[in-house]
Amino acid sequence: MQPTADMQKQNAGSYDLVYLKQLESESIHIMREVVAEFKNPVMLYSVGKDSSVMLRLAQKAFYPGKIPFPLMHVDTGYKFPEMYEFRDNYCKEIGANLIVERNEEWIEKGAHPTRLGNDKCCWYLKTQGLLEGLRKHEFDAAFGGARRDEEKSRAKERIFSLRDEFGQWDPKNQRPELWNIYNARINDGQSVRVFPLSNWTEFDIWTYIKVENIPIVPLYFARERKVVERKGILIPVYSIDTVDPDSKVDVSESEITTMSCRFRSLGCIPCTGAIPSTAHTIDEILAEVAAAKKSERENRVIDLTSDSSMEQKKKEGYF
């Protein structure tokens, strides 16, 4: 059962707000500021666990009203089938207005990390898809679920992150951000990426999913999956055609093992590996995250191309 502020008060005999409630309250405050001050905000919805938490916070921020902005999923065409299914069902269930944007030109050209390289593929399908989506709908503010604990350049990110007309981030020239007063004023062409989960950690996200009973894509839970290992990353066999569409890599039957595994973070199939795990419940996931010796994005190929790959992508317009 979720501890309400009232219960906590009785327990502590004071006005201490437990930290998850404090994080929640701050995120709600941020969302309300954005909706009040921008003309046309949108929430970037990637169907992952952070998106799920962000969506619940949006429901809370505007309750008993509806979420006053659409969700936009930038679809590369390479997401897991379970993600598409979850996305469509859940958005329908909660009555959210979902927009799906795809860079059709490059999807048709068969953009793929093995053909273009990770960085280029990401640029066309994710960054450009995102920027075109924002431009097409004239969104001036976009919520993103990125957190500062994910990656070292994200640790430097403001909550309101100013972007130029090309969606570019200039890390050396960020606006100072003081107290909880956010500067929402922008010039023509500029936009703002807003990160209401900035101060949350991976562990906070899972704890919140548990206490709030938030639905998530089943890929996060461990089950027996047939996998092969490539460059230290576990690839489920059922998606090997997506990982290697040109069949350049031989996969022999002897390499295939059946093991209990799950996905710690979700991205495009070709760049997201599974991790060995036996966590079938949120409690088990929490225990696993608490004991983890490696960071959350260990299974994400796109972060590993250089020491500043995320910073570079963000400079170009990635969220």
């Binding site: 502020a5 201490d16 707000l17 007063i181 983890a292």
Partner: protein, 633 residues
């Protein structure tokens, strides 16, 4: 402890380059197992590439390519770790002077600040500057971590000297809770585990202190303030005001008032997604519904009927300038305060503070990273409290209307003394200019202006400071007699007399001496507002004490009179036999013997009682008062 019961502590760390800040944070993260293997491996790899033998933990913290290239921190980074009872958010801020704005960015949300001092270098200018910023931003708790103790042989003497020096300095500041801890971030002494190398230190380890410092007590739970962010109106039967309770508490049934309309109602429900609450308190985001249909929109503020903030469009503030483009008196900035944005101009620039010396300087602009005191006028009234009593309603930002960049951070000190305004307007009327001003001196039926007109002189506070035996009382008595004889309304507040009654409960500890001066200053202000020339004779050895008195009296009406006399002469005179007692150790904390006297830096008047006669000195002071237009010829 269950995850859901942990509390949160936000702290900031700062120190000069190479004071070991990154190493300290790295140590905290490492010891609390918050560094992952793959992150550590990446750091090791880069360190090796650069020819460093050990993994350089600073690389873990510097998130930007440019920072790693230059090996310095440019911008704030946020780090997270937790222990069994707390979650911590570190705002890791750069210490360079040119990054003051980034330091303020990181410090503005902090409940505690760690200032690192390198034991080998002692207290540097930078360490003092950081202390000043902590004081300015009113961060409730401060730790001075004396680092690199391993490089000074864990010497208690070195540590004690640094503590003494920093304590002396910090007395000038408005810091309430300061803790000193000797550490070695590199070796781990006193960071998480108690150090066997410093058996002479019996305080907490750094982490223990961070885990146990009580921060909720710093919250303002008295003054209910609810800036309305957004009106929730899902259907005709529901109209709710969404916002955060930024201070105080509220329950259904309580009478409230909406600003600026002044309309009253009572709270019907405190609505949240989870359930309606019986009470909402500071830092909770909720939706309030009211029992009456009154007009409330974004930017308005809901408060308790009997506990109102100041409503004014003219106030004094401290500004920290954050824009490359210097401040301009001609620009109308956009001021964002809580959920309200208004046009604002700086109507007066009082002074700039030199952050290294803490001196006030004359200035007509602010450049990047400069700090100073101003008066601000806004196009519509704001509903505010002083920053000191309420951070949420006392802070604001200024936005450049052309570039839309955040140009300054502001902290409200209070409304501009409207008295000045009254006098200025009265002056202008004498010269034939008509003003239809709605400025009134509230709470007084007879204005100070009227009293001054009848008295035939202006009100003023003459603050005589100097050693015991310097002649303050002698000068003050002779001066008062002279003023009385010429028909002036006077009041003499003498140190000894005050301590018989008003301040009879106070001793001579530093805290009590400060309180003594505070009370006297407030009394002086009341008599001042009554139109009198108030003479105050107090040793008031510390600048902060005298500056407090100065701060509550309008400029031009406060005269610090330094009664200068050589200490040896004072001791010879020793009219009350106090020096002899102090020398024998019978009086503790006696100024000039066992506690310091800070000479005034820039007093309005200096008189030298060992060189001039009392009559000459009285004439000197009278001349100055005529010059300052307090008295007429």
């Amino acid at each position: 402890m269950a995850e859901s019961k942990k509390t949160l502590l936000r702290f900031t760390t700062t120190g000069s380059v190479d004071d070991g800040k990154s190493t300290l944070i790295g140590r905290l993260l490492y010891e609390t197992k918050s560094i992952f293997e793959d992150q550590f491996a990446a750091v090791e790899k880069t360190s090796k590439k650069r020819g460093q033998e050990e993994a350089d933990l600073a690389l873990l913290l510097d998130g930007l390519a440019a920072e790693r290239e230059q090996g310095i921190t440019i911008d704030v980074a946020y780090r997270y770790f937790e222990t069994t009872n707390r979650k911590f958010i570190i705002a890791d801020t750069p210490g360079h002077e040119q990054y003051t704005r980034n330091m303020i960015t990181g410090a503005s949300t902090a409940e505690l600040a760690i200032i690192l001092v390198d034991a080998r270098n002692g207290v540097m200018t930078q360490s003092k500057r950081h202390g000043f910023l902590v004081s300015l931003l009113q961060i409730p708790h401060m730790i001075v971590a004396v680092n690199k103790m391993d490089l000074v042989d864990y010497s208690q003497q070195v540590y004690d000297d640094i503590v003494d020096e920093y304590k002396r300095f910090s007395q000038k500041l408005d810091i309430h809770d300061i803790t000193f801890i000797p550490v070695s971030a590199l070796k781990g002494d006193n960071v998480v585990e108690r150090s066997p190398n410093m058996p002479w230190y019996d305080g907490f380890t750094l982490l223990h202190y961070l885990e146990n410092v009580h921060v909720m007590a710093d919250k303002n739970l008295i003054d209910f303030r609810f800036p309305v962010q957004y009106v929730v109106r899902p259907h005709l039967d529901f109209r709710g005001y969404a916002g955060m309770v930024v201070s105080g508490t509220i329950s259904p049934g309580e009478k409230v008032l909406a600003l600026p309309s002044g309309k009253t109602s009572s709270v019907k429900e405190v609505v949240t997604y989870d359930s309606n609450l019986k009470e909402a308190f500071a830092s909770q985001s909720v939706v309030l519904t009211l029992n009456d249909e009154i007009d409330v929109s974004r930017g308005d503020m809901i408060v308790r009927k009997n506990n109102l903030p100041t409503v004014s469009n003219h106030f004094e503030a401290i500004l920290c300038w954050m824009d490359e483009k210097p401040f301009s008196l001609k620009t109308h900035y956009i001021l964002k305060h809580t959920s309200r944005s208004v046009k604002a101009s700086v109507s007066k620039l009082n002074y700039r503070i030199n952050v290294n010396t803490l001196h006030r300087e004359q200035a007509d602009t602010f450049h990047l990273n400069e700090i100073g005191r101003v008066e601000i006028t806004t196009s519509q009234p704001l509903f505010f409290d002083s920053y000191k009593s309420n951070q949420a309603t006392g802070s604001f930002i200024l936005i450049d209307p052309v570039t839309n960049l955040t140009a300054a951070a502001g902290m409200i000190r209070g409304p501009v003394k409207e008295l000045d305004e009254v006098i200025r307007i009265a002056h202008q009327d004498e010269h034939g200019r008509r003003h239809s001003s709605n400025v009134t001196w509230q709470g007084q039926t007879i204005s100070q202006e009227a009293r001054e007109l009848r008295n035939g002189h202006k009100a003023a506070v003459l603050w005589l400071t100097g050693y015991s035996g310097a002649g303050k009382s002698t000068v003050a008595k002779a001066l008062e007699k002279k003023l009385f004889d010429t028909g002036c309304q006077t009041m003499l507040l003498d140190g000894d007399n005050i301590r018989h009654g008003l301040c009879g409960d106070l001793g001579f500890s530093e805290k009590d001496r400060n309180e003594n001066i505070r009370r006297v200053s407030e009394v002086a202000k009341l008599f001042y507002e009554n139109g009198r020339i108030v003479l105050c004779t107090f040793i008031s050895p510390l600048k902060t004490q005298r500056n407090f008195a100065r701060s509550i009296i309008p400029e031009g009406r406060f005269f610090e009179i330094f009664v200068r006399c050589d200490l040896s002469v004072c001791k010879r005179r020793d009219p009350k036999g106090l020096y002899k007692k102090a020398d024998r150790g019978e009086i503790k904390d006696f100024t000039g013997v066992s506690s310091p006297y800070e000479e005034p830096g820039n007093p309005e008047i200096t008189v030298e009682t060992d060189l001039r006669s009392v009559d000459e000195i009285v004439e000197e002071i009278i001349d100055k008062l005529i010059e300052a237009k307090i008295l007429e010829h």
